[in-house]
Symmetry: C3
Subunit: 363 residues, 3 copies
């Protein structure tokens, strides 16, 4: 891959200066960049690292003195991370499967693939599947029966799409992600004693469930447009209705979304977050890494749950929560500060007790 | 799929009324159900949602006035979730592989498959494997050498069964689950300093292990009857003896069971729970979501560990535990309530100090 | 497999006594061992279990009276777990793929495989891949374009190596591990409000991100020599530079290493540990099970983070930390002990208030 500075600037919609015909092959950090690379030097601290290197071109902050940096050409960045998104598209060497259907792929004759779809080696596509145009199905993906996926999907190796799943446009499913696992739902012939005891906090007899009878998932998973699901994440099917993920929501790696969960739009579920069955997550919510959310509750729109928290109760919109059980961040921090002083507080109380008890205290 | 109300009631062992010859195609929630569906309206609240819809048949609570709901036929439910389990079997459209062995499957000539077994595309079955009757092996499953699995197994796409694993009847392994990963077990040439320092709480020199020498897993995994393992879960092999999962135990998605762990019967391991090496979990235990259990300890029969807890010590039978480190639920809740009042308590102590110190306090 | 006691002792570099020509087939715990097995009886407690069994040979502690145990031959152990590592290599029946390239494997003609490499059924190897000598690639592994892996690699079924990943010698990638997932990195057209609100702890308006624009991962993953990655773990690519894992570091199952993370040498990442983006983990660090580490921080060399902890700030070298947010172990334990007494402390304060307020207290 070799691109001119002028081309890159044009594709970014950014200003550029110097030798616009200069060609670069890769985007690199200043301390790893060579003469054939475009250095990423928006941050003044990084620009400093260009000194003494053979770098000829860089992306720099608006108004930066690129010539003083020893460059022959420069692209000016507006908002740095947004520029980064554009650059990452331009320089991406994404290992998409080669165009066309690999001869080892097993595709049911009733499946319909959109124009320009590619299917990699050993992929398996079931009956009555519909894939939109330009779908990129990597090797060893499986797609179950009656699945519908919109335009421009990209499924990475080992991604598993269960039967009856419906997904919108521009979906990305990373390696070994499972969309449409079976929900964890069992019933006992007699009334189950577990919930009683969880409420009471003590157990007086055996919990013997006689047997657990499985409730198969009759619902499936419905996913909107512009959704991504990270590597090894799992989204379970609903029991009767569908588990749902709204438009523009991004799911990181090793996330678990339980059966019947409803996730809104433009919500972020960061790595290792788990959402138990039938819970509703609103729009524009951020669940940071390692968050656990109990079943049958709701988290309101525009809320942020900080990393490692365990949410056990309904969260109103626009809340910032942390801890286990999760509390408002301000409340948690006040308690946490007081906890850090707790050993000292205990000493103070002992001291007070001594003083109040002493005869001579009484004057 | 089309079934009559009479057939469904007969298969459920339930009472029915009205036009028993009426045919329905799917089970649906009242607000999603149409004229061709059987609505699930056991809960009176859901029954209310039938109003104004074209629904002709529903499952209703015992004694419900189905004709007043505008229905032409009704099935009466006993215990609602148990009825649900039966309904979920009747309406299941489980994407089982087509009968027979797909020509792309690679099956070692020494493997033995029971009567009626089906094997999907690109599945790989190793040497000296024995599968019971009616096994359903989906596409892209791998089964290692010398594995034995009982009757009616269902392995979903990408499920990995390691070598020498033994599994009973009616096993379900969901997509990308790994049964028989290698245990995480390393040894250092010199005595390892880590445990000393963990006990002491301070580190005075480099932990340099020189090198970690791997202990290969010579044991395997032994799983009883009626066990299910969820998507992307991992059960590691034992070091010398086997890791064991008892009859009727259900393992949710993204659970991690370490080497040498012994799990009893009819126990539930909910999503994202991790059990460290050599720990014993009793019978009829519930580990709720996101629970961590330390190595070399035990959790007694009929215990419940609430979601997000970290168990660091032995738990007696019939305990309800929560928190990190986990405490009895009642103890935890008393502490948690006191913690919430802790900032106020600190103020009280400061106030007391002021009053006790003031000269005029002494009266 | 059948080995003589003499051969085993020689391979271990250990002393042996008795009938060195005696043959054994398997290594077993004393209570599971039979006449054809070598019993593992180093621990005196285990040696006791040999009584009354048909066992003829055992590994025993240095100086143990093997003849009194009823044995015909014995191997003497030095450091028991180190001996165990040697034994586990000798008795390993690791299901390596059969030598050679399985005809169903799909290997790009530009890939280069070292001498003695084996590739299992349905494996997929991309363009410009280089595998070192004796690589064992199990069935259904995928290796992306431009990947380089050193000598003696072992990739288990379903292991996914993303494009441009570089790995050293003696690498083990367990089943369904994903090396080189795409980083979770998104940018919004306007400045993102999430970080502001996380700092402030309260949200005053909608977080509406308009849209999340994806930053593709241009970096990849660089892994040193002697590294193992457990089942279903994920290591994400870097954004511009590479995510790095140092020599001799061992990663357990279901671990998540985020984009740009730098992990040092001989470090242990135990099961279900997650490290957020751009964080640096030093050398010889132990992150016990279920640890979460925030983004953009560092954990110093020779530190131990106890299981279930959440690390939110920089950790100096040689620290032992626990809790959430993680504190020094000693500090945490003091607070935890005080918390356990907190309900009693609150009573004391109430009692003091009563006494200080009472008129007769004033003497």
């Amino acid at each position: 891959m070799s691109l001119t500075i002028g081309d890159i600037a044009a594709r970014l919609g950014a200003e550029a200066a110097g030798d616009l015909s200069l060609q670069v092959a890769r985007l690199r950090q200043p301390d790893e960049a060579g003469a054939a690379d475009l250095a990423l030097a928006i941050d003044p601290e990084f620009a400093e690292k260009l000194k003494g290197r053979a770098v000829r071109a860089a992306v720099v902050a608006d108004g930066a003195d690129w010539q003083a940096m020893g460059l022959e050409a420069a692209i000016f960045s507006g908002r740095s991370r947004y520029t980064m998104a554009g650059l990452s598209r331009i320089f991406d060497r994404d290992p998409a499967p080669a165009p066309g259907i690999h001869p080892t792929a097993v595709i049911d004759p009733t499946a319909t693939l959109g124009e320009g779809a590619s299917v990699g080696p050993h992929a398996v596509i079931g009956a009555h599947v519909t894939l939109g145009p330009r779908a990129r199905i990597a090797g060893q993906v499986t797609i179950g029966d009656r699945v519908t996926i919109g335009a421009d999907a990209y499924l990475m190796p080992g991604c598993r799409i269960g039967s009856d799943v419906t997904i919108g446009d521009r979906f990305i499913g990373q390696a070994n992600a499972v969309i449409g696992g079976d929900g964890f739902s069992f019933v006992t012939p007699q009334p189950n004693k577990v919930e009683d005891y969880m409420a009471k906090g003590s157990i007086t007899e055996s919990l013997d469930p006689t047997e657990y009878v499985r409730i198969n998932s009759l619902g499936s998973v419905v996913i909107g447009d512009d959704v991504e699901v990270g590597a090894n994440s799992v989204i379970d099917k609903g029991t009767v209705s569908d588990t749902r993920i709204g438009n523009g929501t991004k799911v990181d790696a090793q996330v678990m979304v339980g059966h019947n969960v409803q996730v809104g739009e433009k919500t972020l579920l960061c790595a290792m977050t788990g959402i138990a069955g039938s819970t509703e997550i609103g729009n524009r919510v951020v669940l940071a890494g390692g968050v656990g959310v109990a079943d049958h509750i709701s988290i309101g729109d525009d809320s942020i749950i900080l990393a490692g928290s365990g949410v056990t109760n309904r969260v109103p919109p626009k809340s910032v929560m942390m801890g286990y059980p999760a509390l408002k961040q301000e409340v948690f921090m006040n308690i946490f500060k007081a906890m850090r002083r707790l050993p000292r507080l205990a000493e103070k109380v002992t001291d007070l007790q001594n003083r109040v008890s002493k005869p001579d205290h009484k004057g």
